[in-house]
């Protein structure tokens, strides 16, 4: 990084005016559109819920009831579903993304590389809605994968079938993101290391196992966690593909809002979800800090 370093100096008057001019609008949007809603969400989550009202009553009593209610089995199973389906999808995503990233970095012509990268970036930028619909069309009642799943003994209305379709939906979004993340790490591995290992007699697979894998391991860990964060905050994929039987945390928030208008409870779940997301990000940051220090 060719970061230009300046000695820190006391803020002079024009500097302060420049800072206000350049950073002011972003600060305003951030404070009004992001920080205030989150603080309000925290306050709302501590308000008593009055059925039949939109939002809490003006001076509703403070209560931890909304959180207390989450400590039941129904919500625990939603949390568990979110994590295990998200976790499985994140891992399958890496299993495909890792060799794919290596292939793109080392094994293909520049032309093919541009095409493959273009395809992956198109997938990243195209609507999650389209991908979800495409998965439903492929695995659903007329889909070409349906007979395949049927021969495996999975019936369309079984929980396992729906789980697999939701996982497929998540993996479809995870592979492109994970591949593009891993490409960065693979590019910084010196290919001569592999050549050296092989000319010293190591078979190719062993050379990859003892060079490519360890050198890209930190990137693999953060890519897995980034995929996991994506999966646990997924909304459209479980909503459409889960057919109401597989619920993620975000789906429960939406139900609290749209079906029963229990905003305080929705706010409490939002805060739990936020805490979960921040915890995963903290782990990523920790993993990256270790990578830098090594």
């Amino acid at each position: 990084m060719t970061k230009v370093r300046r000695q820190p100096v006391a803020i002079s008057i024009p500097d302060r005016r420049d800072a206000a001019l350049t950073l002011g609008p972003a600060l305003l949007v951030f404070a009004f559109g992001f920080l205030s809603p989150l603080i309000n969400l925290a306050i709302e989550s501590l308000k008593e819920f009055t059925p039949g009202r939109v939002g809490s009553v003006e001076n509703a009593a403070a209560t931890v009831q909304n959180y207390y209610e989450l400590a039941n089995q129904a919500f625990a199973s939603v949390l568990l579903t979110t994590f295990w389906i998200g976790g499985v999808a994140a891992i399958i995503g890496q299993l495909v993304a890792f060799p794919l990233a290596y292939f793109i970095v080392r094994r293909i012509s520049p032309r093919m590389r541009t095409l493959t990268l273009g395809f992956l970036i198109t997938l990243v930028l195209s609507s999650v809605l389209i991908k979800t619909y495409a998965i439903e069309l492929t695995f659903g009642s007329v889909g070409i994968f349906r007979p395949f799943l049927l021969t495996l003994g999975l019936f369309p209305n079984s929980r396992e079938y729906i789980n697999i379709v939701v996982i497929a939906g998540l993996v479809h979004s995870i592979i492109p993101v994970a591949t593009l993340t891993l490409i960065g790490a693979m590019q910084s591995i010196d290919p001569r290391l592999l050549d050296a290992a092989q000319s010293l007699g190591a078979p190719g697979w062993k050379a990859h196992l003892s060079i490519t894998l360890p050198l890209s391991f930190p990137a693999l860990v953060s890519s897995t966690l980034v995929s996991l964060t994506f999966a646990i905050s997924a909304f459209v994929i479980p909503m459409v593909l889960g057919r109401g039987r597989v619920l993620f945390m975000s789906n429960v928030i939406y139900t609290r809002f749209s079906d029963i208008a229990n905003y305080p409870s929705g706010a409490a779940i939002s805060l739990v979800m936020l805490a979960v997301a921040l915890a995963v990000v903290a782990v990523i940051t920790f993993a990256q800090a270790r990578r830098v220090s090594r």
Partner: protein, 279 residues
Amino acid sequence: MSMRSLAARTGDRIAGSLAYGVIGLGLAFLAIPLVITCVMAFDARTYLGPMPPPALSLHWFERLVSQADILASLRTSFILAVLTTALSVTIGTAAAVGLARGNFPGKAALTSAFLSPLIVPPVVIGFGLLLFLSKAGITNGMARLLLGHVIVTLPYCIRTSLASLLGSDQRLTEAAMVLGATEGQAFWTITLPLMRTGVVTGAIFAFAISMDDVSISLFLSDPSATTLPVTLVSNMRAAFDLTIAAAAVVLIAVTALLIVVLDRVVGFDTVVGQGLFRS
């Protein structure tokens, strides 16, 4: 040939074919659903039947453009995406300049704060905004949507602009000013062109994200302002027919167009180097 190298070569062959198998299956898994969607959009049947369609026709597209609610939401989505992009790019570029050039305590903290909407689940942002804006008395659907979309696209614009600014040499701007350019002239003729790739990347991301968002828009839409993805989701839940496939083809075409622009103006390697994603 020794036994050892023979075993090694067999191992390599197995590992190699395994890796190629995974890559092939993976790419097929990514491409097949999209191909199926594109083919099915041209299905001549009036119901959802199995692949392949017996005949092709454009009637799903005709149905798509004959639905008033879809056209209205497409219009809303487009206007919203243009406004979001304009606002996000302007505010984000300014903020990036401020962050890169300013000398003040807490700069690093401020940078992470600006990027933090990326790590908050979109549903939480949408729900939080809904509650807050209702309390604040802002009921205009378009205004709500615009704020929600700017919040999630701004971090991208700041990040890509900041990356290209830090990657460029600030001494060029200083040289221009030493040679007599005013601060404004130096900014418009030197600094901004140097930031071009970051600004363009940010703009394309902002447009694509705004066009596609469901999680936030579902909370903030109202009957006067509903975006295309929101209309499509409710159609999808009501009746699963192929008008959505037709809509998907249109949206894929728009995205592919953006990607071509991205490659021409910026180049994929730059984009991949900057890291793309909301985590």
